[in-house]
């Protein structure tokens, strides 16, 4: 546990690495990681980043709860999830590091670059905490390297909180042999609105980090990249969804701030006005839905962006949109629930409420992007479906996609994505506002401005003329027609593709952001000879067809989800009482197959190794029938 002596540098070539930057909240870990991740992406590496965010803006420093950080997994090949554990960490103090240790986030032989200023700190209490932390972490074989991070940063800036991150970035640049010119460009871009001096200082800090690492560290890692000739972009899921909404031709986003969805509106607010659109920050979640519905009703398919608690508030309005058949796109960036739950953390707990959250029968389309790239493309498809079927489309992403950064093929933008239905041509005489095609439930949408189309939409039961009607047959017809549209849409869907063999012992079914981790776990199991396949559902309402037939080809079917389910064997939990994961509920009801589930809601993305463990447990149950 001492500063490394100057030695010959050993450079290991490895396929991938996972790095953590762990700091107090407010010390710039995100900026450091953002630049590092972007640099890796620009150098052609596969990248996946995960933010570690405390709930408070700036909790007391130097505590286990003040941890703010970022995990960057990058490698030669495409990276689809955050992996298992970190192999290298830069920690600004022992307490934030301890919090990561306690979460079992660090690999047993993790290299930890820890600020050296705490060990001999003048404050006795700090020294005591340091000792205790080190003691607690001594159960692992971490390789500590003490680095005078603060001391070095102070040579360049007065406030080390605004400099240590760039020094750390410099060390990472040296350890992983990153292209410094890319880093410099990133820094210049990030601080483009500040005086040039800020950029200069930051670059100076990076350089001092590089110099220090060069002089003092005896290891380096080489992660090659595969040359690519396509154009790529790198962004997080919320940015992708925001830009996707513009690419889809949407001009109105009505929202109310809610973590982790808000940054969609940040991105949109920044640029949408130069696309003739606007972000309306409403007085509350309900009003945000109302404004979006009003704009959609008036002819321009609108977007509202929210997260679980906001969805709950919008419930009544969404039912109205469904009832009057106004197209609407709702982006729900899921977080931990129930109630305020885990605002900054990932969960997939809104599936059932998204499917069934309204009073009465309220059929709607629910889709779930699996990757950041799909967050972009889903917005285009969502708008098209909403308009074609005059329906509400809920796009379910989550905090993992929202804040994770990944590179993907630059979408070839197309004007046809924006094709609108702003049609105000006169309404032919006798055309009724809900002239449902009795076979498909489809009807022509008439918007204000169309001469002769005057009618009043109503959330009350209504007939084809949009007149309030309590007549039994007209109520049943309306129900039928609104539901029929979903069946019609389902008839256009294709069965999901499987990853792996078409039959076997176990099919793992997931949805949304867990795809990468599930595939990695399944591949690991397959490489060991297990007969496991997986499929990741993207259309959840209506469900992709053919599921029952696909399930029948596997001895077992199990969902893997980031939400709560009872664990068999826990007190009172038995066949009768067990509550299943949300997708498992849906699939069991839909297919009458005895679908099992393994779910977890730790407030962080799933680890491939945990999924792997439960795959093996499902295939080779021990005596208790649960995972070893």
């Amino acid at each position: 546990m001492s500063t490394a002596d100057i030695k010959s540098v050993e450079c290991m070539e490895i396929p991938e690495h996972t790095v953590e930057i762990i700091t107090n909240s407010g010390e710039g870990a995100q900026k450091c990681a953002q630049i590092f991740g972007q640099t890796c992406a620009k150098m052609g590496n596969g990248v996946w980043t995960v933010e570690i965010i405390p709930a408070e803006i700036e909790p007391p420093h130097h505590t286990v709860t003040s941890t703010s950080g970022n995990i960057i997994r990058f490698g030669t090949e495409k990276i689809t999830n955050w992996g298992d554990q970190s192999k290298l960490a830069i920690a600004f103090n022992d307490q934030v590091l301890l919090s990561r240790h306690r979460l079992d986030s660090l690999k047993d032989d993790c290299i930890i670059l820890l600020d050296s200023c705490w060990q001999q700190h003048e404050d006795e209490e700090i020294r005591r905490m340091y000792e205790e932390a080190m003691d607690e972490m001594s159960t692992k074989n971490y390789r500590f390297v003490l680095v005078p991070i603060e001391e070095e940063a102070l040579k360049i800036v007065d406030n080390p909180s605004h400099g240590k991150n760039m020094f750390a970035l410099g060390m990472l640049a040296e350890i992983y042999q990153r292209d410094v010119s890319i880093i410099e460009k990133q820094i210049a871009h990030i601080f483009r609105l500040k005086p040039p001096k800020v950029t200069e200082k930051n670059i100076e800090l990076v350089k001092s980090g590089i110099a220090w690492a060069k002089e003092n560290l005896d290891f380096q890692f080489r992660i090659n990249s595969i040359p690519f000739d396509e154009e790529r972009i790198v962004m997080n899921g919320n940015q992708a969804a925001a830009i996707g909404a513009i690419a889809a031709g949407m001009e109105m986003c009505a929202m109310y701030p809610i973590t982790p969805a808000t940054s969609v509106s940040h991105e949109l607010s920044e640029i949408i006005e130069s696309y003739g659109g606007m972000v309306h920050q409403a007085e509350d979640e309900i009003a945000a839905a109302g404004v979006a519905i009003g704009a959609s009703y008036a002819g321009k398919v609108a977007l509202t962006v929210t997260s679980g608690p906001g969805m709950a508030l919008k419930t009544e309005f969404l039912a109205l949109a469904i009832m009057i058949e106004v197209p609407l796109v709702v982006l729900n960036v899921q977080r931990g629930g129930p109630s305020t739950g885990l605002p900054t953390k990932v969960e997939q707990s809104d599936l059932l409420s998204s499917l069934f959250g309204q009073p009465g029968d309220a059929p709607r389309v629910v889709i779930a992007p699996r990757t950041i790239e799909e967050c972009f493309h889903a917005m285009i498809t969502a708008r098209r479906i909403a308009e074609t079927f005059r329906c509400v489309v809920i796009v379910l992403t989550d905090a993992n996609l929202a804040t994770g950064v990944q590179q993907f093929t630059r979408p070839p933008l197309d004007v046809r994505w924006q094709q609108g239905a702003m049609d105000q041509s006169p309404v032919p005489e006798g055309l009724r506002p809900y002239e449902w095609d009795l076979e498909t439930g489809l009807s022509r949408r008439i918007i204000p401005g169309s001469p002769g189309g005057q009618h009043t939409v109503t959330g009350l039961a209504h007939d084809e003329d949009s007149l309030v009607s309590y007549h039994p047959s007209s109520n049943e017809l309306g129900m039928k027609m609104r539901s029929r549209k979903l069946a019609v849409f389902q008839s256009t869907l294709m069965p999901p593709e499987l990853h792996g063999e078409q039959e076997g012992d176990l099919l793992v079914v997931g949805w949304g952001s867990t795809e990468g981790a599930i595939v990695e776990a399944v591949d690991r199991a397959c490489s060991e000879g297990y007969k496991v396949s997986t499929c990741q559902l993207t259309f959840l309402s209506p469900l992709e067809p053919g599921l029952k037939e696909i399930f029948s080809r596997f001895k077992n079917v199990m969902t893997v989800e980031i939400n709560y389910s009872d664990t068999p064997g826990d007190p009172y939990i038995n066949e009768d009482s067990r509550r299943y994961g949300q997708l498992a509920w849906v699939l069991r009801a839909h297919t009458l197959v005895d679908v099992d589930c393994w779910t977890s809601c730790p407030g962080q993305p799933l680890r491939p190794r945990d999924i792997y463990t439960h795959i093996i447990a499902k295939l080779e149950p021990n005596e208790e029938g649960v995972a070893a």
Binding site: A248, T388, A421, M422, T492, L493, E544
Partner: protein, 322 residues
């Protein structure tokens, strides 16, 4: 300042007008796209419109059977509508260059402006084509010409209110602003960017009670021109030219409306291009009659208009010097 920079300033000065025009064209295009929705889309169009997220999940062929039946226009209307759509898109593609007319030396200002306004007017005639097609009244023989342009004289009053304005770059020798008089109506704003020797007060011929007229060599001074909600004309002349503003809101009578003034040194008495000394003198005398304060003593007051008239009087000796 190079004329490109002055052109940029002039364009900025008419930006509210050009934005209004572009915005209207874009809005119209959105509606046309709505009218054409479900019409003549190839399977490929459908597939792309549905987005990449649907790829591998949605059978586009089947999906499109549910959108295809939704055509709202008669098949015969599609071709003219698409032609109009294309014409509108082409106008937008020109960007701001649509509003900048660079007059070749010796070209006729009036003719060129008429041509450019006709091109701009294509937006309006394209809208006529769309309406005719929608109503099933479009006839190739009788209406196809509409997409070749619409002369300003044929613009309706509502269309004139959407006139985007023009920036005209020209040589001083061609600076005969009176040639644009027929186009000064409703929302029209014209800004001349004049290079080289120019007649000192040619713009005076456009001073009418309801038109904002400004001649300046100080490019920062166009705010009032921009803010004026109505017909306006401005000229950016090289340094040293006379500068005046005729602001219709500044008073009841013409002389009251002359609000600011910068005076050049003595004007050289010589023809500029085809503009003779006499013609220049007429410009000045006109300005004088407009600007002179009618005072019984004939004494020029110290107000701007008075100063202007005094200066003008000192210059009029070139009158009659043909």
């Amino acid at each position: 300042m190079p004329s490109e920079d002055r052109t940029a300033i002039a364009l900025e000065a008419i930006r509210p007008r050009t934005e209004l025009y572009h915005s209207a064209v874009a809005t119209t295009l959105e509606q046309v796209s709505g009218l054409l929705a479900g019409t003549g889309e190839s399977p490929e169009d459908q597939s792309i419109a549905l987005g990449d997220f649907a790829r591998g999940h949605v059978n586009v062929e089947r999906f499109s059977t549910f959108t295809r039946g939704s055509a709202k226009i008669d098949p015969s209307a599609e071709q003219p509508m698409r032609a109009a759509q294309q014409a509108l898109n082409e106008l937008l593609r020109k960007g701001n260059s649509l509003f900048v007319l660079k007059l070749m030396e010796g070209a006729n200002l009036g003719v060129q402006v008429a041509k450019r306004l006709a091109t701009i007017g294509t937006a309006f005639s394209a809208a006529h084509v769309i309406e005719l097609a929608r109503r099933g009244q479009f006839s190739e023989d009788r209406h196809a010409f509409l997409l070749d342009g619409l002369a300003f004289s044929d613009w309706s009053q509502a269309e004139r209110a959407l006139a985007p304005g023009l920036v005209i770059e020209l040589d001083g020798a061609d600076f005969i602003p009176a040639l644009v008089a027929p186009y000064l109506d409703a929302g029209m704003k014209i800004a001349f960017v004049v290079d080289g020797d120019a007649p000192a007060a040619a713009l005076s011929r456009l001073v009418t009670p309801g038109v904002f007229v400004q001649q300046t060599s100080d490019e920062s001074g166009l705010d009032a021109f921009t803010a004026w909600e109505g017909t306006a004309v401005a000229a950016l002349l090289p340094k040293g030219a006379a500068a005046f503003v005729h602001d219709p809101e500044a008073g009841e009578t013409t002389y009251e409306r002359f609000t600011t003034l910068e005076l050049p040194g003595e004007i050289r008495k010589r023809a500029i291009g085809g503009i003779s000394v006499f013609q220049q003198a007429q410009d000045l005398q006109l300005l004088q009659t407009l600007a002179v304060v009618p005072s019984p003593s004939g004494e020029a007051a110290s107000d701007p208009a008075g100063k202007l008239s005094a200066w003008l009087l000192s210059q009029t000796s070139l009158a009659g010097d043909r």
